[in-house]
């Protein structure tokens, strides 16, 4: 049986949820900037796991 969450844990999860919602409300230009950063960070990890497809590379754009 799952134990009920403590008040502190519920508050922590609520803050986490709000953080995700705040990320969702960012201006599109800022989200594109984050996406480009994610692409740059993720690519070496992906390349270490498997051969990359030719199109798997950070977009050559300025947000």
């Amino acid at each position: 049986m799952t134990e009920p969450l403590s008040e502190a844990m519920r508050a922590l999860l609520a803050r986490k949820r709000e953080w995700h919602r705040a990320q969702a409300r960012l201006p599109l230009r800022e989200k594109v900037r984050i996406l480009l950063e994610l692409q740059r960070q993720d690519l070496p990890l992906l390349a270490a796991r498997r051969p990359l497809e030719p199109w798997e590379r950070p977009w050559e754009i300025t947000p």
Partner: protein, 154 residues
Amino acid sequence: MREERVVLDYAIGGATAVLFYAEPTRTYDLDVFALLPSGEPSLASLGPIYEWARTQGFAVDAEHLLIHGVPVQILPAYDALVAEAVRDARLHDYEGTPVRVVDPEHLVALALQTGGARRRERAWQLLQADVVNRPRLQAILDAHGIDATLPGDD
């Protein structure tokens, strides 16, 4: 493309569409769903699109068109849900350019229909972002026979 009737209509889908409504998620290509004049959802029906892209000077790399530094994959509307998603797409503005983007309810429905861990995560992100009209989503799922239990807000 629309003006030259290469496609009847289009809408951005996939992870790039999610960007318009929810937090950023990693992707390397941009999916575009297209309603084609031929009405055929086959890959061969994409020929005129690739031809159009070449005449515009865009490089073609396997199934992707390289448009202004972004690999774009055109997907013909392959079933009724995708066709509806294109027809009901929302018009957004990106840096002064109007773009048609699949709405959040159809993005979730498409993610649940197609399945896979990353797509389920995408559906969850949209639901968490509080941008999905749940009754409308449920109506879409019912209309297209997609049997899925929607996660809650926790």
